[in-house]
């Protein structure tokens, strides 16, 4: 399967990945017009910063044994046996938030209405692949076969 590989040392915290993710999930928006403060300004990735230690890029791993899928009582989360991606079907979601509780890396979060999940979809609808990867000027994140 393909995974977004992370080279933490290369990350300089520019947050281009974060803006690209928000924009990719706001239909019709681009890097300049994306709404970064409103009710849909949710990024699927997160960059933490620690003094002296630098940046910590958090991107969904689409885990081999996904805890989020194990905790999903609606069937909304599933691991695709062919692509290996963990897909989320918002229509099925029961908004129980067990996936948020169970992701050991704290990747997942609810949307701002607490009714749906914010979950990396690997930008499967885009031919050029994940928007975050495309937006990274440092190649700190790259798509690789694992």
């Amino acid at each position: 399967m393909k995974r977004i590989m992370i080279d933490r040392e290369k990350c300089d915290g520019c947050l281009n990945c974060t803006i690209a993710c928000i924009s990719a999930h706001q239909e019709g928006s681009n890097f300049y017009t994306a709404d970064l403060t409103g009710k849909t300004a949710d990024s699927r990735n997160k960059i933490y910063f620690k003094e002296k230690e630098g940046y910590f890029p958090i991107f969904c791993r689409h885990c081999d044994e996904p805890e989020c899928v194990m905790s999903c009582m609606s069937g909304a989360l599933s691991k695709d046996s062919i692509s290996g991606l963990v897909n989320y079907d918002a229509d099925k979601c029961g908004s129980c938030l067990m996936c948020v509780m169970n992701c050991p890396y704290g990747v997942m979060k609810p949307d701002q209405t607490n009714t749906k999940m914010i979950k990396c979809d690997f930008c499967q609808d885009l031919t050029e692949g994940p928007s975050c990867v495309k937006a990274c000027p440092k190649e700190a994140i790259t798509v690789q076969e694992v």
Partner: protein, 406 residues
């Protein structure tokens, strides 16, 4: 290999999916009392009318075809003979097996309060059949009393509120959701429920349900002397593992079916997973137990290790809460509090380790907290609210997976 799975909920379905990943040829038969696969945790969405019966099928509509499973539905198991490796069904069928998984879950419990068990208008809330029975009796002006304010009781209350049906919740403890919440965090939900139509009687105990000549319950008598008129009573006072059919089988039970860390029962080739084991009562653990049982059934030696089960999320009226571990402090527990207009956060620390926590209002990126409790990580009470996954960040260089560096 002939594999029988009894039960069609989290543990059973998870086990079957796992088995099929590993073995395309095994002959798998699933037996269930239920005629529809459905998520128990979503029954309230059916009662409220938000969801159809089909849309709470968590396994997917083509489950049996996709997984090549023969499903015997609507039939209960009468007994098991481990020596003959045979399952006897209530309709007289006898099925033999090479490996058996018991995943019959738990059933609701009606407390031995005079009137409750005899009344025709008292229901539990555990499967679709319960929803249908309740729905058939509900009228716009019904007065419903819910006994117990745990997650199931509050699910029912939320569904009734959506339909505009008057409901009163009776709880023995001084606050609602007492297993998961403390007074301040429970008060937030109580207020939200009251705004949406529920009434509450806290620190109250039901002592009797008065019945009319047709065995219809009419009014509930409370310990305080109060009485409560009711057209329908829903009991949400806990569940018990469904093990009745194992009597005389030699399969050892102690409240639930006793299993080893391979999920094997006291009898060889017979496994159990999910609520029927009494190990836990939550979805993720049942799923994982099902998977571990499946792996062992197919000959992989895998142990059930991630046993932490005191965890839950609550989400009503747009207010989310995470509750982990022990939430009532002892004398020597340090209670760390942080709150603002929209959030309430409480972390209990004992011997420098987190014992439990309640995070209410904002659940962004909170998944790592249970790892700190499970792994007994030493924390500093002055900075505990600043902890993030980045403090335990580790990436596996080979495959890029995350790890929790503890």
């Amino acid at each position: 290999m002939k594999i029988l799975v009894i039960g069609a909920s989290a543990a059973g379905i998870s086990a079957i999916k796992s088995m099929r990943e590993m073995d395309q040829d095994a002959q798998i038969t699933m037996i269930s009392k239920e005629k529809n696969i459905h998520s128990r945790c979503m029954l309230h969405h059916c009662l409220s009318g938000h969801r159809s019966q089909e849309s709470i099928d968590f396994a997917g509509s083509n489950f049996c075809a996709d997984q090549s499973v023969n499903w015997l539905k609507g039939v209960a198991v009468a007994g098991i003979d481990p020596q003959k490796k045979m399952v006897m069904l209530e309709d007289g069928q006898k099925l033999t097996f090479d490996k058996l998984l018991i995943a019959t879950g738990a059933a609701y419990f009606i407390p031995p309060v005079p009137g409750l068990r005899e009344a025709k208008n008292v229901f539990g809330f555990r499967d679709l059949a319960d929803v249908k029975k309740i729905d058939a009796l509900l009228k716009a002006d019904s007065r419903v009393v819910i006994i117990g304010s745990g997650l199931v009781g509050m699910d029912v209350a939320s569904a009734l509120n959506e339909r505009g049906i008057k409901n009163t919740v009776v709880e023995m403890m001084p606050n609602i959701l007492p297993m998961q919440l403390d007074q301040p965090s429970a008060r937030v939900y109580q207020t939200l429920f009251e705004k949406n139509g529920s009434d509450f009687l806290l620190s109250e105990k039901v002592v009797e349900l008065k019945l009319d000549e047709n065995k219809i319950g009419t009014s509930l008598m409370l310990e305080s002397g109060k009485s409560l008129e009711a057209d329908l009573v829903i009991v949400a006072a806990g569940v018990r593992p469904q093990t009745d059919f194992l009597e005389g089988s030699g399969i050892v039970c102690d409240r639930g079916i006793v299993v080893d860390d391979k999920m094997q029962t006291s009898q060889p080739d017979i496994y159990a997973a999910g609520d029927v084991t009494g190990l836990s009562g939550i979805w993720p653990n049942a799923m994982k137990q099902g998977r571990v049982a499946a792996q062992n059934i197919l000959g992989q030696a895998v142990s059930y290790e991630d046993r932490y089960a005191i965890k839950n999320t609550i989400n009503f009226y747009g207010c989310p809460t995470l509750s982990l571990g022990k939430i009532s402090p002892d004398e020597d527990t340090k209670v760390c509090l942080q709150e603002d207009r929209n959030t309430y956060q409480k972390i209990l620390i004992k011997n420098q380790m987190i014992e439990g926590l309640i995070l209410q209002g904002n659940l962004d990126h909170v998944g790592f907290w249970q790892e700190l409790i499970k792994n007994k990580v030493v924390v500093d009470e002055d900075t505990v609210f600043d902890i993030k996954y980045s403090d335990f960040y580790a990436v596996n260089e080979k495959n890029g997976s995350f790890e929790v560096a503890i």
